[in-house]
Amino acid sequence: MSGLSVEAVLTAVMIGVMGTMFLALARAALGPTVFDRILAANMFGTKTVLLIAVAGFYTSRPEWLDLAIVYALVNFAGTIAVAKYCRFGNLAHDGQRRASR
């Protein structure tokens, strides 16, 4: 296995993940429905988590994983808020009281 180093693999992974990010961005740009955009944005967030985790190993600074955890958690909050806004038109609703909005 000469010529194949961990750094090369990590670089390949980063480039692959960024290719996926481009694809997700294209889907976010094209739509057609707003849900496609949300889906693409959510996927983009996960890919950023991966990118940062891999970049941390690539530059041997694994404490960047804190950042990846923040992404994984905060991205969820954002997506849920967006889905909620889509469905109810505001953020204050508790999802139970009114049936048809």
């Binding site: 960024m18 990010m21 707003v34 970049a55 941390g56 600074r61 950042l67 905060v74 808020a81 505001n90």
Partner: protein, 194 residues
């Protein structure tokens, strides 16, 4: 570095997509993507604290706050007639900014003035010796060396919250009567069923 170049391209593509979108809702979400990409870029530049802020603020809270704003205002951008003067202003400003960047040091240049200045060496080298119990230099500089500055920043946030209280708040009481205009029509409904 090629990876940072790709990320810059991604950033540029996101900005173009945001500018072209008419749907403000989708634009708000793509702003989240924009800050995700820029946070990735900051990470690769080794500015982890900045990336942390960008991640926490841009991806989470600011998307939610923008949604809150959208639920109070309109969802779609108003179609403005084409005007020459704003375009001219934008072009000139952009050109000036690009000319300005020509004078800046190259990306990651070790000879850049910021790295050569005596303060840089002073901060980096003496901080570790003086305050050995705190490994994160950024925290030390922000909270101790530049404590006044951070106090000012905190006061700015405080002032912003007070401003929002004054503009939007009616003491946040529960007993307020529901204003009829405070409840926007579900924007997607019109597009769906027409």
């Amino acid at each position: 570095m090629p990876i940072e170049l790709i990320l810059f391209l991604l950033l540029f593509a996101t900005a173009v997509v945001i500018a072209r979108l008419k749907d403000l809702f989708a634009a708000a979400m793509l702003t989240g993507i924009f800050s995700l990409v820029s946070a990735g870029l900051f990470t690769l530049m080794d500015a982890v604290d900045v990336a942390f802020t960008e991640a926490a603020v841009g991806a989470g809270i600011s998307t939610i706050l923008m949604l809150g704003t959208l639920s109070m205002t309109a969802r779609n951008e108003d179609q403005q007639p084409f005007r020459w003067l704003p375009l001219l202003v934008v072009l000139i400003t952009g050109a000036v900014l690009i000319i300005g960047t020509l004078d800046m040091p190259a990306y990651g240049d070790f000879q850049a003035p910021a790295h050569q200045h005596e303060l840089y060496a002073g901060f980096i080298e003496t901080t570790r010796e003086e305050i050995e119990h705190i490994p994160n230099i950024v925290t030390v500089i922000l909270a101790s060396f530049r404590g006044y500055d951070t106090l000012g920043e905190t006061t700015v946030i405080f002032t912003a919250a007070i401003g929002v209280f004054l503009l939007l708040g009616h003491r946040m009481k529960h007993e307020q009567e529901p204003a009829p205009d405070a409840q926007p029509d579900d924007p997607s409904e019109a597009g769906n069923e027409s």
